[in-house]
Symmetry: C2
Subunit: 410 residues, 2 copies
């Protein structure tokens, strides 16, 4: 089945600059897809630090387990990503396959297997034949380049209808520091820490623990604040690599004032990619930002926002351009968090629809219905109890989601 490109796809893509210290190649290994690239090899120069967050699923994939084991080392020389097979729930075969792939890559790049990071995405439960990578990785290692970044973004796609790239440049004392990122979605998206696959590379010299701390901080309001369908993947992997090639002093501590500045730029890249994942959510026709304020804590606000963003009834109403704010009330009520019906108020965009436990006196059905026809919607809920706030980003639930997911394996 051909999946139409998301109506929320970007009209232009950023032309990300080369980053010193990283080169890459893509190839067609024919793992599941035909006539498209499905393997990515990235090679990092010695001295590259690494940080990452992976799924909290208790059924995590073999590649996720491999990354977890290598992250404490804090250094990276290579990354291998394949699409079309998640190598998840593949038991001892999966572990062997991962070890073998890392061996091939380490030999091809001349480093230790423990410096190789791996990610796989696609069908769960299907054994992945590492043999398919053997010759492929050798050849790829001979034709590494530093551009275009569109190639790796394409090679990691599964049901994505557009490639996802984002970049940022910081200036430290006249020296440019670059951050390039790529990501893929587009279903099984309810990140319990990172979502699906995303890889970010910077030339900033930065110690691994500092990079990890910044990543932990900023994943909370980017990848961890999106949901497509409330389903959490077994393969979620977000890795950040810092080659250290920019001509600035290394950041060795969070106390370095540049850490916060670099962190904000990193956050911009993560947020941009996360929103692209939502905008390419399976079957998505609208992007929805759910803002909750007035909750008893930020965590409580997040859980309420998540309940709204995950509600199939809220999402189908939005798909139908129906200003059914009663379903938002329902979702607040089911969230299990402190709420008082009679203190609740709800806005769609700037339009007040409900206040103090009932429909707002100023409610305007025509204006609200007109608002719902937009492609980018804001749903704001004030719980009226405290100062806790959070935003969760999601998309609508349409026939397209059913089409894509009723026949994914075939």
């Amino acid at each position: 089945m051909a999946i139409p490109v998301s109506p929320l796809a970007p009209t232009t893509y950023p032309d990300l600059p080369p980053i010193a210290g990283v080169r890459f190649a893509t190839a067609e290994a024919g793992i599941k897809y035909k006539n498209r690239t499905d393997v990515l090899l990235m090679a990092f120069d010695p001295g590259t630090t690494a940080a990452g967050v992976v799924t909290r699923s208790l059924c995590s994939s073999a590649a996720v387990d491999w990354c977890k084991a290598n992250l404490p080392g804090g250094t990276a020389r290579g990354l291998v990503v394949n699409s079309g097979n998640a190598n998840a729930f593949t038991g001892a075969k999966g572990r062997d396959s991962v070890a073998l792939t890392a061996d091939y890559a380490a030999k091809a790049l001349g480093c230790a297997p423990g410096e190789i990071f791996l990610a796989s995405t696609g069908v769960i439960g299907e054994p992945l034949d590492a043999g398919k990578f053997a010759g492929v990785l050798d050849t790829m290692a001979t034709r590494l380049g530093d551009s275009p970044w569109m190639d790796p973004a394409r090679a990691i796609m599964t049901t994505d209808t557009f490639p996802k790239l984002a970049g940022a440049i910081c200036d430290f004392d006249g020296v440019e520091v670059k951050i390039n990122g790529i990501a893929k979605g587009s279903g099984m998206i309810a990140p319990d820490m990172a979502t699906m696959l995303s890889f970010v590379v910077t030339d900033m010299p930065i110690a691994a623990p500092v990079l990890q701390a910044l990543l932990n901080q900023h994943v909370r309001t980017s990848f961890n604040a999106i949901t497509v369908d409330s389903d959490t993947s077994t393969s979620d992997t977000l890795l950040v690599f810092a080659t250290g090639k920019a001509g600035v002093e290394p950041i060795e501590s969070l106390d370095d004032p540049r850490a916060a500045i670099f962190g904000e730029a990193l956050r911009d890249v993560l947020f941009d990619l996360a929103i692209q994942v939502v905008r390419d959510g399976e079957g998505a026709t609208k992007q929805v930002s759910v803002h909750v304020e007035g909750a008893t804590s930020d965590a409580s606000a997040f859980r309420i926002a998540k309940a709204i963003a995950d509600s199939p009834l809220v999402k189908t109403a939005i798909a139908g351009e129906d200003a059914n704010w009663g379903r938002v009330v329902m979702a607040v009520g089911k969230a299990g968090e402190p709420a008082d019906r009679d203190k609740l108020s709800i806005r769609f965009g700037d339009l007040l629809v409900a206040q103090a436990g009932e429909r707002a006196a100023v409610y305007d059905e025509a204006a609200t219905s007109a608002y719902m026809k937009g492609q980018e919607l804001e749903v704001s809920v004030d719980i009226g109890l405290g100062t806790g706030r959070a935003t969760v980003y999601t998309c609508d639930l349409t026939h397209g989601y059913i089409d894509i997911n009723g026949s994914y394996r075939s």
Copy 2:
């Protein structure tokens, strides 16, 4: 939009017998629907005891609040149910409307308003004009009858595509004791205690606290073990009325050995109705029973079964007749409950598909795909850690759900 009747609709309906002590009438009040009944009045003889469970939503409807206030009284003389408007999130207007409706009904039946129970179902947030009930209830009170039970079952329907009735008869020392029940669904179904509306009447003489205890016990494995779409209603109400007209000694205590026997019959009725709600889940084409065993506790097993049954990806795969057991693994992994990937096994029907952390050696794609074509499917997961077990009942997620819910208010 005309909604096609569920392919899982029953081919015949039970012809429930009259129950001494209860009479009823239905009417067309024109609240939302045209050319169909939308109000039900039930009248109970003096001495009728009552028990009930209602939604735990923090945004519960005005009628739910009314029932909560009256349930401790333990007696009932009347029940008024309307479909088409939930009178939920309607603030002070909703409270006034409920009080006025109870007054009308109390006058029509010659009892106190505190002995009237109320339930409303339909759109949330739309004020309900109690004036519409004034003349209607008076007229209804003049034409009360004891049959057919199909009439009340039809009057409470909203997006239901078939009426839901179930009955049981117990024999105590040669005396027949009857239990009749009706229910309605069919979206916003993820009961956090009772789901949507269900009313059960028995002629068993039974003290209200005993009835309440039996109800609390059996709702757990019936209405509380189903989910259509993970969304919990603001209006969930399950009420049981016991007219006491059967010629047997009253059950005054749970220690009476007849309490357990009566409780089992009550459970049969609740379970039958709950399964009918699932089978009429919006857009449903398949009924799915999710069995989890080997969890660290029954509560843990329930949460894992619920995570599987609520997963959009599991439900769309089932709609597509795709034996995508990898999504079951995903749902176990996201449930947040103790699980060990490498001890997990999964069956579809009797077919073992996954074992010990990978696809089962005996996995047979053709046989499993053939099994998925059935209308009633069993998904069984053994966590392999303990003795906790639970079953959750659900349906698939199809285009029909999107059709119904993209335009519900219009």
